[in-house]
Structure formats: structure tokens, C-alpha cells
Amino acid sequence: MAKLRRTMPPSLMRRRQHHLAQALARIAQPGHASPTADMPSPAVARRLNAILAVCAALLVTQDIEMILQIVVREADTLFPGSSGPLLFLADERGEQLWLRATRDGVVPSLSVQPGQSLAGHAYFAPRAMLMGAAQIDELLVSASDEHAAQLARVVAPWPPRSALLAPLRVEGQRLGALVLPGALPESRFTPHDLPFIQSLTDLAAVAISARRQVVRTAALQHDLAQSRSLHEQAQARLDAAQAQLLQSAKLAAVGELAASVAHEINNPLYAARNSLYLVGQELPDDAPQRVFLDIAQSELGRIARIITRMRDFYRPARDELETTDVNDLLDETIELVRTHLRHGQVTVVRALDPLVSPITAHADQVRQVFLNVMLNACDAMPGGGVLTVTTSPAGGRAPAGGVLIAIADDGTGIAPEHLPHLFEPFYTTKPQGTGLGLAISAHIITQHGGGITVESELGIGTTFRIVLPASPPGGRRA
């Protein structure tokens, strides 16, 4: 009982108990079951005990096959005049009845349509029935010859001269039928048998129905768990998309800020530059002040370019693209970081292929990317090391024969948990980092139609690989 309560919902339990009570009440109906009013005869008592035993057994049975076995076994005990009970269950749609249990446990493949033959007739019957030879023959005529032949192999003697039939029903739902063919012509069933077979099939029906509901509940719970997990997955994807959206929003905010700053600086820059121009107009060509005027002019030009680049972070100016030699850019960048390299005792290994194709690029921007990656590499080698800069023709990834640039260090390496976020804006592991360096680098490379990847192992080092597409043939020369 305790085991059952764990697996069965309380409402089901109550319904099952109600059905059992009904079944038992039916047995006790006066004039129907009990031949004597006060004390049942020993035969009836034995049968009631058998029914109670079935009741107890079914209550603790979890497996449908087991339930069927118990029903068949007890049917055998209750009706010794039978040649062997046959228990049929309907398929899910109620279109076919299948033999599911027999006395000896051997279940041949045997089925019948509802309404046909003995089992089919019992299936539609409202209650248990007793049949004589004439009725049996009539029913067997309705069945196919094939079915009759199959049945003849299971039932001996054949054809039975009497039979008890009962439907398995619960609350109007038909589950199957129990057929008890009479063993010998002389051992006939009597109407006294009817309440017992009815009780047995009622108990069986309740037990099977309950078990099926448990199975269905488990299936529903499984489905629920599955849809919950699907929901969680969808939620996770949504969260990721939201995070990405947030990153894009951050980038857009930076871009907007850069653009507005750039615009506000244009007016003072214009005034300063042209004031110097007007001063220059007044000065004689050989005036000694002219050298400083030129410096001021060219420095203002630098400011203008920086401002433009800030704005171009989001919109690379197409008209400033020029045909560029990647090796030259790398050499210039190595020159720039030389001081840094000396301090950190970093050696540079240049392996630049002089035959790589020229690229069409915004040279300042690409140089900024190289600088960024190289400075990162130097930071990763605080105790010195080797910085290897390699160029080679790119393989299959760039169809027009692009350039592959590899910048490798043998420094501390990047922890695997940081790798996926490396190119995200505002992601940094350095105390003074802005988290923008690699994000901007990746952005610039993407804007140039290229790609940037990273490979790293803790304690071994890090390699950044940048692929840039080659200039189309006949591209503009700077």
C-alpha cells in the first residue's frame, strides 16, 4: 500500500477504492450472488476469498503484464470448469482486440475486431454473460474462418459448448474482454458464476486503468520536463542574444560619442588652422617664425586625422583606402614598439614574405591593429621573450590570394575562459585596460573584409592570425 501511495495520485486512489467497493457490493447482491441469505456456502466463501485475494494482489501490482497474469490465474481458480481463460485487451484506438494472457502463459498472436467472435461480443457487452452452445456457434459464424482456426488452436475442446464472457470496463471506457470457454460439455457454467466473473473483470479493469494513468502521468511529467528544458535552452539563447545586443549598443554609444566629439572639434580646428594660414600669408617666405608655423599647421593636421579616425571607427572613409604593402606596415609598427621591446628584453623575429600581395586598406587603421596586437604580446612577456611576426600568402580562405599575418609571442598565454570574449568591447583583464583595443582591432579587420583569430595556451604563448584580402588587380595606387 505504501508503495502504491507513492506512485498513485490521491484522486485515482479514491476512484479505485470506489470501484472496488462497487465490485464487492455487486457480489453481495441478494438473489444474484449469494445462494444463502446469512452464511455463504463453503464454495461461495472460497470464491469470495479468491476475489479478495485478487483485490489485494491487484492493489500492489505495478506492472500490466503482472495484472493480466493474476487475473487469468484467479479466473482459473474461480472457474475450474473452464478450459483456460483468455484475456483480450483493446489497442489504443479500440479497433482491434489482442489476446494478452492465457493460463499457461503462452500467448499466440491472436486478434479479433470488436463485435466479432466471443471476445468481440464480450467487449461491447454491458455486463458478464453466460453462453450456451447455440449462441457460441452463432458468434463463431460471425468470425472469420482464419480467426476461428486460430481460436481452435488455443481452446480445447473445440468448439466450447458453454462460455462465460465479461467486458473489462471502467466508467464507460472499454478496455478489453475476458473469455472463459467451458472445458467439457457436462461442466456447464451457471448464472451463479456471473457476479464472480463480473467482479474479477471489474477489478482487472480498475487496476489496468489505474496503471495506465500512472504511465500516462509519468509520460506527461517527462514531456513537461522536456519542454521545461527546451524553454530553458530558448531562454539561454535569448539571454545570449540580449547580451550581444547590449554589446552592440555599447559599441554604438562609443561611436556616437566619437562622432559628436569629432564634430564639435571641427569648428575650433578650422578656426585655428586658418588663423595660422592668415598669419602665414603676412609673413615673408624666409621669416624664421615660419618653421614653427609649419609645425603648428602639421600638428593641427594630426589632430584632424585623429578626429577623423575616431569617427571612422564606425564608417571607414572609402576615399582614404589605398594600396598598401603589409610588410611595410609591420616594419613601421615594429619600429614603433622597439623602445617597448628593449625595455622588456623582447627579441623580434621577422619572417616577412616579400612576395605577399598588396592590400587595399586604410593604412593608419591597419597599423593601429598591428600595434595593438604587438603591444599586447609584449605585455604578455613581462620577463622577456620572442615576438615572431610572419607574413605569408593566405590559403583557401581568401579567394583572391590574401595575406596571412601571424603575430606570436611565447608569453604567459590567455586563460581558456577569456578566449571567447577577447574581441568583445569593454572586456579586459588588465587593471588599466579599456577593453576596446581588440574590439576595435577586430572591427577594423572586419571592415577591411578580413578576419582575426587567436590561439593561446597558458604558459606556452599566444598567436594572433589576421587575414586581409588582396587588392583587386588594377587597384588604385596611393
Binding site: 571641427n266 569648428n267 580646428l269 578650422y270 578656426a271
Partner: protein, 145 residues
């Protein structure tokens, strides 16, 4: 540094300025940044010499009034910035004085602004910090018959 100062500029057409046949051309400058306006005014006056009168007007409204009075050959305007009065002035001039030559000299260059200005019949467009020499050359082109 070797890199040339470069402004973003275009000229849709060079036509005789309408309305004024006087020998002296009259140019007004509308710019919400007073320093930039001053530099433009002094610089252009210096470059163009006595053949032109270059004046700064304090607001878009003042520029509109001056154009209504007549005798203006060229309006140089910065329609960008937070104050949108420049764009309103351009629309009004485009509508009321279709023959009047207008140049845009802006610190707020964007592809969108360029498109909008072209649609308003602006004769030339330059982005700050353009050099005065380039500005002077363009002005000469549009005001000299």
C-alpha cells in the same frame, strides 16, 4: 607630415549669380560658431580683396532679412549643429530665392547632410576644417560671372 589638408567638396554647377549686376559682390556668412565665422569672414575678405564685401550675420533670421532686401550674391552657411535654424534658412531661401547662390561650410559633415543639402539646391559643399585657400577658390568660382 606630408598629408594634404583635404575638404569634402563638390560643385553642382557654375552659373552666373542671379539678381546682382554690381561690380562688387556681396557675401554673407551664417555660422553659429562666432570664431569660425570670424575666421571665414576675415580670410575670405583677405583672399577676395576689394572686389567683394564679406560680412558676418549674427543669425539665420538676420541672413533671411538681408536676402529679402536683396543685393546678396552668395550665402555661406553652416546648417549643422544643435540649432536647426540653418536648415530652416536654407529651405526658405531655396523656396523664396531659387536663383541665390548658397555654399555650405559645415563642421557637421555626414553623408545624410550632404544628401539633404544637394536636395536643397546648394551650389557647393565643404567640410571643416577645410583650408581657406580651398574655400577661397570655390567662392571665386561661384561668384565670378
Amino acid at each position: 607630415m606630408g598629408r594634404r589638408w583635404r575638404g569634402v567638396g563638390w560643385i553642382t554647377a557654375i552659373a552666373t549669380s542671379g539678381g546682382c549686376s554690381a561690380a562688387v559682390s556681396h557675401i554673407i556668412i551664417v555660422d553659429s560658431d562666432p570664431t569660425a565665422a570670424l575666421v571665414t569672414q576675415r580670410g575670405l575678405q583677405h583672399i577676395l580683396g576689394s572686389g567683394s564685401v564679406v560680412e558676418q550675420v549674427p543669425s539665420a533670421g538676420a541672413a533671411w532679412l538681408a536676402c529679402a532686401r536683396g543685393g546678396i550674391d552668395l550665402v555661406i552657411i553652416d546648417p549643422g549643429g544643435p540649432d536647426r535654424s540653418g536648415v530652416a534658412l536654407l529651405k526658405a531661401l531655396h523656396h523664396e530665392h531659387p536663383g541665390l547662390t548658397v555654399l555650405v561650410l559645415t563642421a557637421y559633415d555626414t553623408p545624410r547632410l550632404r544628401k539633404q543639402m544637394a536636395a536643397l539646391g546648394v551650389r557647393g559643399y565643404l567640410a571643416k576644417p577645410v583650408g581657406l585657400a580651398e574655400l577661397g577658390a570655390l567662392v571665386r568660382q561661384v561668384v565670378t560671372p
